[in-house]
Symmetry: none
Subunit: 417 residues, 2 copies
């Protein structure tokens, strides 16, 4: 079944709101095995909406329209669909009742244009709106099913899940369903990953393998099509193994996780307490780690040692190191980590010092980064990086490397009481 989405609303064409409906619907349709080939956005304009509808009918089995079901003059979706279907709008008692009770609940005066929302396309299957006033509809034109859903996500989503999804499943019958598994990689570029896996990517048809790069990470989306869930899992496992045999050392997690979440889970599992000493990252590592609830069981705290004399007088980095090597140095990173581990009494501490940019510092280029790790019952050690990108990108990238390095150390470590 091939589908396309039409989003209606001038606020989308003016960029006043981001179209999250399209992403939600596409994701849901992919899960039940419906291919979405087009997403189109048009304004509250009868001519252009009708034109887009005609084209969609000519090429798709299913069209889902969101928006334009409101009470105001510029809401004209159902009018446009009705005239294409060669039918008219009729009064819908249940919807009017729903609207009236909606106003009664809020003891607000119901205006006439709200009654307009109780009109539905003649002969359509009406979808109930639990969280708003505009009913949804399903009509068929030339063998194409056309679904009308309200625009506000808080009304559209429940209507899709509770009212439309059962209908779609009926339409689809016993067909095969699609499942995806996303493998997340770090410290390897997209083109390198693709080069290493090219033959697999090209040979694979079920599951398919799709690389995607974003924010310094690369993901591989494995998408499998099969009626049996057990067989889906077997096919995904098999392909994942082929992949990890080649690039397993870069794999850090699945689906929607993050490097920081993986580190947090690892710290919790090993009951490993952590402290931080952050210079150019300015507390961002600590801030991200503390976004997880329950982190108080492992996170002790940290020192944002931004000014040089703060590194010395508050954190306790020796003046010698600062004068001899500077604050943008391996030696400073090592001492920052050691001081933080002792001062904050933690099993491990991680430190970040470097040049966020845009300007050089101590003659070091923007993007020069030193990450120190102290604790884990071993000698402190340090990683040096040269990162590209703007100030915030350098900070974010450095933090991801910090998570990745520490995560790999953690996996080898076990707490000894």
């Amino acid at each position: 079944m091939n589908a396309e989405l039409i989003s209606v609303g001038s606020e989308l064409l003016l960029g006043q709101i981001v179209n999250t409906n399209a992403a939600f619907l596409s994701q849901e349709l992919a899960i039940i095995g419906v291919n979405v080939f087009y997403q189109t956005t048009v304004g509250d304009n009868d001519k252009r909406l009708t034109e887009s509808l005609k084209q969609a009918i000519s090429r798709s089995d299913l069209i889902i329209i969101t928006g334009g079901l409101g009470p105001t003059k510029d809401d004209l979706t159902k009018e446009a669909v009705a005239s294409l279907a060669g039918t008219k709008l009729v009064h819908h008692e249940k919807s009017l009742h729903n609207i009236e009770s909606y106003f009664k609940k809020r003891n607000r005066q119901m205006s006439d244009n709200n009654r307009k929302q109780a009109l539905v396309i003649e002969g359509s299957r009406v979808l109930n709106n639990e969280y708003g006033m505009a009913p949804g509809m399903i009509v068929s034109i030339d063998g194409t099913s056309i679904v009308l859903l309200p625009g506000p996500p808080q009304e559209m989503k429940p209507m899709f899940l509770n009212e439309l999804l059962p209908e779609l499943s009926k339409m689809l019958g016993e067909q095969t369903s699609i499942t995806s598994r996303v493998l997340r990689f770090f410290d390897i570029g997209e083109s390198q990953l693709e080069t290493d896996l090219l033959d697999l990517i090209e040979a694979q048809t079920n599951p398919t393998i799709a690389p995607l790069a974003s924010e310094g990470e690369v993901t591989l989306r494995l998408t499998v099509k099969h009626a049996s869930v057990a067989e889906q899992k077997r096919l995904l496992d098999e392909t994942e193994e082929r992949i990890t045999n080649r690039v397993g050392q870069y794999l850090y997690g699945y689906n929607d996780t993050s490097l920081m979440e993986q580190l947090f889970l690892q710290l919790k599992e090993k009951r490993c307490t952590i402290a931080t000493a952050e210079s150019f990252t300015g507390g961002k590592f600590s801030s991200m780690l503390t976004s997880f609830s329950g982190v108080s069981s492992v996170f002790r705290g940290g020192c944002v040692s931004y000014a040089t004399d703060v590194k010395e007088n508050v954190l306790g980095v020796s003046k010698e190191v600062v004068t001899k090597f500077g604050v943008i140095s391996k030696q400073c990173a090592l001492e920052m980590a050691s001081c933080a581990q002792q001062q904050y009494d933690a099993d491990v501490a991680i430190s970040f010092t470097g040049v966020a940019g845009p300007d050089k510092q101590e003659g070091k280029e923007a993007g020069t980064v030193y990450i120190g790790i102290a604790g884990l019952s071993q000698e402190p050690f340090c990683y040096e990086l040269n990162l590209a990108g703007r100030r915030e990108a350098v900070r974010d990238r450095a933090i991801k490397y910090g998570c990745f390095y520490l995560l790999n150390e953690m996996k080898r470590w076990n707490k000894t009481e």
Copy 2:
């Protein structure tokens, strides 16, 4: 000038990412008076991309395509456009050089498919990519200007603003232009603001006044249409004055600024050094403040005192306060701020302690927040808040209030040497 946007990428059709590019471009085009009539999303599929392009060329003066300029096999935007233009791809020396230095910087191996990114459409105007590898392009087919931009927002946005926008202004010439001014308010709700300004909002036609609420802030977008820039300014100033006469005390800035940026500028102007003591915000305030380059002139550093004993033993909060009032208390916030100001030797220090949630702490509800301010040649003082929302929302909201309170204090303060 009528424009439409084409977003290319199967990840969009699978709903893996939300299309924020379309919103950004639509907003920017509206500001310079370009009407966007369609936004279309197609996958990495030559046939459907070409089909959409042909249709767009037949009805629009300007087409902006985002995505499909990457190094991998499924990136085929420029190939599709080239074949429609009846021309070929040619090697672009400057872009190849850009790509090579990109890899040199990271000391990473450059793979062959990266060279593909240095190919551009013959006869196209090449747009430089400051933050990535894929160059942008402008070509003309049948009098329609077609612009190719990379998909990643962090590459697309600067290329649009720095490279494409000047070109578009040339194309537009002397036509009536639209300009917007966004007024940013804090500590007042959208409905309250709308109520206070209702008559203005309804009466205004040029400029129009559009309220928008997001992330605990409310903005008013004033949009004026006039050929003369001077007259545009006069009309905007006039309307702004009418607004600030009523709700000026909540106005904190204009356009894309933030409370944190305003605070940073105020600190710099007053040459006021600042330190932080963060508990449940986990370093996020410091992290946000240090996102501005040049912050080292005012930011000293801070203590992320997450664990209770860290508040006592590292930061120096008295055991009496902790045992008597708890860490979620006015008294603790005051001591945290005072300790940080002394320890980090700053003109002012701000502290955050509270319950991010989801669980209660010390019998206090999630959303209970205490913000302490010490320094500015006055007695330390504290604000208590009860914020709604989930964990991250509570943290963000608290930080915004901290900025807002401190900003207002700063405005009254002057450094005495």
